[in-house]
């Protein structure tokens, strides 16, 4: 059987967790889920598995990756899971890596596809998505995280049954635990959540040149992003950076202005539903990933679009 670590938020399993469940289904056999932390019980109600295990413990109000790893390992061993799969999010990956150490097994991160067998054949992501790797996993128990948005999610549905467990946690498991929550340094709409993202690249030309980008983003209630070239030039802070080592965005529309489209940048935009590129070069690499394009100078195009928006709003 396969054990899937299911993350949850606001009483429901996350989308990527549902994708992890879909990947697990591809392995065949029974699938169980493990949910940890506040809200787990409520979320467990819509996890489409045979059994949803909910771990409750007073010390687990805040995320503690070693504790999670301990719970994962204990349960996996108790259930005799042949595979443990988790969504490829930060915290889940963190916990899985620690679990891999405890279980003495390799961990394959950001998997997009698997073929059962011994060894397990899998495809995983490299270079933030710009390259794929086909690999063989030699392990007694397969440990995988799923690359977000590479597998279609299962629909939420009630599990066969829900079981609660109270894990035994050592003090050492709680040394690394969230002690506090603070606001991020910059205000404004978070890039990761924004429905509209407008970025400027090298083509913007200067820090001041971002004015039309900011104006359009404000009009659309969106967030302003930038490419690494912009950050490296000191025109905008890293918190605005979109790309493999910056923010990963998933807006309804991503408007890329003066961005050439290097692979490292595109790696941060895979979740975007649509991409509109504004560029003077009709053959820039971004044009092969964009759905729409305007050929022209962003300093002319963006103000015109902003003006048209204002005009139609009256």
């Amino acid at each position: 059987m396969n054990l899937v670590l299911v993350e949850h938020t606001e009483g429901a399993p996350t989308d990527v967790s549902l994708q992890a469940l879909a990947l697990a289904a591809g392995l065949g056999g029974e699938t169980h889920a493990l949910l940890i932390g506040p809200g787990a019980v409520e979320a467990a109600a819509t996890v489409p598995v045979a059994v949803a295990h909910v771990a409750e413990h007073p010390s687990l109000q805040a995320f503690a990756p070693d504790a999670w790893a301990s719970i994962i390992c204990t349960l996996a061993e108790r259930l005799g899971a042949s595979a443990v799969i988790a969504p490829g999010s930060g915290p889940a990956t963190d916990a899985m890596a620690r679990a891999a150490v405890r279980l003495g097994e390799p961990l394959a991160a950001n998997v997009t596809a698997i073929t059962p067998g011994s060894p397990l054949l899998l495809t995983r992501v490299r270079w933030g998505g710009s390259l794929l790797e086909e690999a063989r996993l030699h392990s007694g128990r397969a440990l995988l995280t799923v690359a977000p948005h590479s597998v279609a999610a299962l629909a939420p549905a009630a599990p066969g049954s829900v079981e609660t467990l109270t894990p035994e946690l050592a003090d050492a498991d709680l040394v690394v635990q969230v002690r506090d929550r603070v606001a991020p340094p910059a205000g404004g709409v978070s890039l990761a959540d924004a429905k509209v993202v407008v970025t400027g690249g090298r083509g913007v030309g200067s820090a001041e040149g971002f004015a039309p980008v900011e104006e359009l983003a404000a009009l659309l209630g969106g967030a302003v992003g930038c490419s690494r070239a912009v950050t490296m030039s000191g025109w905008r802070p890293h918190t605005d950076q979109v790309g493999q080592t910056g923010n990963k965005i998933a807006p309804d529309i991503y408007i890329a202005c003066g961005v050439s489209g290097a692979t490292q940048h595109i790696a941060g935009t895979k979740g975007a539903k649509r991409i509109l590129a504004v560029n003077t070069d009709p053959e820039a690499p971004i044009m092969s990933v964009a759905d729409y394009a305007v050929i022209g100078d962003l300093h002319e195009v963006l103000p015109a679009v902003s003006a048209e928006l204002r005009r139609r709003r009256g």
Binding site: D281, P282, E283
Partner: protein, 839 residues
């Protein structure tokens, strides 16, 4: 750019770098419409060398052609308002370099860059406050050095061309192939479609060889690296308001330059090992991390350069908060001889090359090649850049790379005008080589040919004839007093010369006479057995070449020209052939070798080995005929470039050694001396005021100015006739004169010998400028041993062209040496009545 892709064009220009943009614009300016320009990259920065060029212009070069192209380019950049004058200083850390700067001053004055001057370390410090002048001896400062925005200039020129619809530009368009039919370009295949065109220009920088190959032509260049880094932000520059407010510094002795670039300092280096790449290696735009011509920086090759930059500009480079922000191995194009590659390719009619051109001469080249294409000739003489100049071996990838490899370390080097290459030697060897080696020949190379410059075996003649050694090392470098001694020996007895390097073409057929008649100035309908010496004119009446033609038969003419320009001459005559095929050209350069025999004893020697009549009456001057020498049939031609009695003797290449041996043996009783090219090309001809193409003779000067007009002009039409007739009616703006140096002794007590290109001035240093704006400068310099004088040839404005005048000087290494105007015009200083030649 959303217009339909054309299916035909008057001309297709491939390349949207500075050169392609300039060429396309100037073609339309000169009236061509229906010009299509394409590039595989985006605009405005296509990813070629223009995109990362340092963009600065230092106008003074020892080459007149390069300086003219640069000054013309600067004029255009100024007109387009993209030129920022910042000044430039070449600094010296060594005395040798200071001497080279004095040489630079001569070139500056000869080419009219009058604001250039030598500066002291203190003056350098004033101009460039962040320099450590304590390590410098001085500098060569040119206030008109500038930085240009080459991308903006390119855009402006393209837009001008497009204004009236004469030019269409298509970026992101790959050329995938070219079709050639009957030796002529017909069409270009691209990723957007096929264009029928009979004129195609390859202006693709480092990619050019690949494009040329598609059509079966050669554009011999190799991509090479030159390193550059950018450091910043520089506190001192943060206060400046423009991109560059301090002069550019070239640290010549360590092969580096430093210039302000906004708030950064750009540091470039030509000091590293030669790093060559093949055009095929250049990545595509998608694959390259930066641009295709910006290769990853190799830190190890810049190790010494960091120290040198720190030595020169410690205030900036030693500042720990100034970071290295950008570093690349940038690609540039290098050619076998360092000059650009311009003109119609000899292999494919209609396929033009416009490659290996730097930003500093881009617009000038574009204008010149456009003039060449549209008007038939360019205002600036481009003979040193002519792509048809190469001999076969020079077109090979191996040779191009070998020469580029050797040349790169000399980019900022001190290069003697006669400096010889170390590598790629022994490629073309005369049949007489064994004899020459035995005589201790000092071999100099010309277009691959190993030619004896002089012979060490003649060393004892130096004392015999009392030849002085030259006191200054520079003047004595790549020279030997043996040359002058050989000259004396020839004039006293006779000399034997190896002239294997001649380029020889036979033009034959019914239409041969008409074709040649039209191509050259002189009357070609001469009796069989005549040798005609003739200039070849450009449409504007200037010199494209000068050579001799023998009429071997009614329909057979043999053209003999110097090896150095032989291939360009071959194309010239091949282009002159009639379209109906009634004449053909065969290159017999390597079928025949030539031995020269001249001197008072020449006839004695020759008559002793042949029973044919070689008396003056039996074999007059200017005749050619086949004679028998032993078991050899020898084509003998009685002309003389050294101004003495004698013949050029032609035999098949494989028989050369035999003929040499026969003549050598026969010559011993007559004190025959082996003489090298030092005599043939310099001492012999200078005494006779014989002009040389590429020295005195260029398109810039007319036949009349060169003093070479004949009494009458033939009635047949020929290239340049109208212009020539006009020139004969006008007063010449300058007159070619022979001058002699009165007093060689420099201030330091050492006798100096100018080597060529120095300005001729008034005694107070004022340069001479003629009515056409041309400066007077030394076109040829060398000893006239039989005269006991040192000879300089120069074009002088008429008011100064006065025989016996002693108001002039030659400025050499910033010292002025008085000269006398010995002869105005073409009269020979030595044996003016030509008694020796016609004896």
């Amino acid at each position: 750019m959303s217009s339909a892709f054309p299916t035909s064009a008057r001309a297709v220009v491939i390349g949207c770098g500075i050169v392609g943009n300039s060429l396309a614009y100037h073609l339309t300016r000169l009236g061509w419409t229906d010009v299509v320009q394409i590039d595989k990259g985006p605009l405005p920065n296509t990813g070629g060398s223009t995109g990362h060029a340092s963009n600065f212009i230092f106008p003074v070069d020892h080459s007149k052609e390069m300086t003219q192209l640069t000054l013309e380019s600067q004029r255009q950049y100024i007109e387009m308002d993209v030129n920022t004058e910042c000044g430039g200083i070449e600094v010296a850390r060594t005395e040798e370099r200071m001497e080279e700067f004095r040489r630079r001053m001569a070139s500056a004055k000869s080419w009219g860059v009058d604001s250039a001057r030598l500066v002291t370390p203190a003056e350098i410090k004033e101009l460039v406050p962040y320099i450590d002048e304590s390590i410098l001896l001085g500098g060569f400062y040119c206030p008109t050095v500038s930085v240009v925005d080459s991308l903006r200039a390119g855009t402006i020129m393209r837009e001008r061309g497009m204004e009236n619809g004469a030019l269409q530009v298509f970026a992101n368009t790959d050329v995938t192939g070219m079709d050639v039919e009957h030796g002529r370009i017909r069409r270009v295949h691209t990723s957007r479609g096929t264009i029928e065109a009979e004129t195609v220009v390859v202006a693709c920088g480092v990619w050019s060889p690949m494009l040329a190959k598609m059509a079966g032509a050669h554009i011999p260049l190799t991509p090479a690296v030159h390193q550059m880094i950018d450091v910043g932000p520089v506190p001192r520059f943060e206060a400046t308001s423009s991109a560059i407010e301090f002069p550019i510094v070239r640290d010549m002795d360590v092969f580096m330059y430093e210039r302000q670039d906004g708030v950064g300092l750009e540091i470039g280096s030509y000091a590293h090992r030669s790093i060559l790449h093949d055009p095929e290696e250049i990545p595509s735009i998608e694959e390259a991390a930066l641009s295709p011509t910006e290769f990853p920086f190799t830190q190890a090759d810049f190790a010494d350069q960091m120290e040198h930059a720190l030595e020169l500009m410690p205030e900036i480079v030693g500042n720990e908060s100034v970071g290295v922000k950008y570093a690349i191995n940038g690609l540039i194009a290098l050619t076998p001889d360092g000059m650009p590659l311009l003109g119609e390719t000899p292999e494919v009619k209609g396929l033009w090359s416009c490659a290996a051109v730097w930003v500093k001469e881009g617009p000038g080249v574009g204008k010149s090649v456009a003039e060449w294409m549209v008007l038939g000739e360019s205002h600036i003489d481009l003979h040193s850049s002519d792509v048809s100049r190469f001999h076969d071996h020079q077109k090979t990838r191996n040779h191009v790379k070998a020469r580029a490899f050797e040349a790169f370390p000399k980019t900022y080097g001190i290069v003697h005008p006669s400096e010889q290459w170390a590598g790629e030697r022994g490629l073309r060897v005369s049949p007489m080589v064994a004899r020459e080696q035995a005589l201790g020949a000092a071999f100099y190379e010309a277009v691959g040919w190993e030619r004896p410059q002089w012979y060490e075996a003649n060393a004892s003649l130096v004392e015999r004839y009392g030849v002085e050694q030259r006191g200054a090392e520079w003047d004595a470098r790549w020279w030997s007093p043996i040359i002058n001694a050989e000259h004396h020996a020839m004039r006293e007895h006779a000399g034997i010369f190896d002239l294997s390097a001649f380029a020889i073409f036979d033009v034959a057929g019914r239409g041969a006479l008409d074709a040649l008649q039209h191509a050259v100035l002189a009357q070609m309908d001469v009796p069989v057995g005549r040798v005609v010496y003739t200039p070849v004119l450009s449409p504007g009446g200037g010199f494209k070449s000068d050579l001799t033609i023998m009429r071997l038969d009614d329909e057979v003419f043999r053209i003999v020209t110097g090896g150095a320009h032989g291939m360009a001459d071959r194309k010239l005559f091949a282009d002159a052939l009639p379209a109906d095929g009634s004449a053909s050209l065969v290159d017999v350069t390597t079928a025949y070798t030539t031995i020269g025999l001249w001197g008072p004893r020449a006839r004695d020697i020759l008559s002793s080995v042949t029973s044919d009549d070689v008396s003056h009456e039996g074999f007059p001057f200017g005749r050619c005929r086949v004679i028998e020498i032993g078991s050899q049939l020898v084509l003998a031609s009685r002309i003389s470039y050294v101004g003495d009695l004698g013949w050029e003797l032609y035999v098949p290449m494989e028989q050369g050694a035999r003929l040499w041996d026969v003549l050598w043996e026969a010559g011993q009783p007559h004190s025959l001396t082996a003489c090298g090219i030092g005599v043939y090309a310099t001492t012999g001809r200078l005494e006779k005021a014989y002009r040389a193409y590429g020295a005195e003779l260029e398109t810039e000067y007319t036949v009349v100015e060169a003093g070479m007009q004949r009494p009458t002009v033939k009635e047949q039409d020929f290239v340049g006739k109208d212009a020539h007739l006009r020139h004969r009616e006008e007063e010449p703006a300058a007159i070619l004169c022979t001058l002699t140096v009165d007093d060689h002794v420099s201030a330091s007590g050492v006798k100096r010998y100018p080597l060529g290109r120095e300005p001729i001035t008034l005694r107070d240093g004022t340069p001479l400028t003629d009515a056409k704006g041309r400066r007077s400068y030394v076109t040829s310099a060398g000893a006239g041993p039989s005269l006991g004088k040192y000879i300089l040839m120069a074009y002088l404005p008429p008011e100064h062209a006065v025989e016996g005048s002693q108001e002039l000087a030659v400025e050499y290494m910033t010292e002025r040496f008085p000269v006398t105007v010995d002869v105005v015009g073409a009269r020979a200083p030595f044996d003016p009545d030509n008694t020796r030649v016609r004896s």
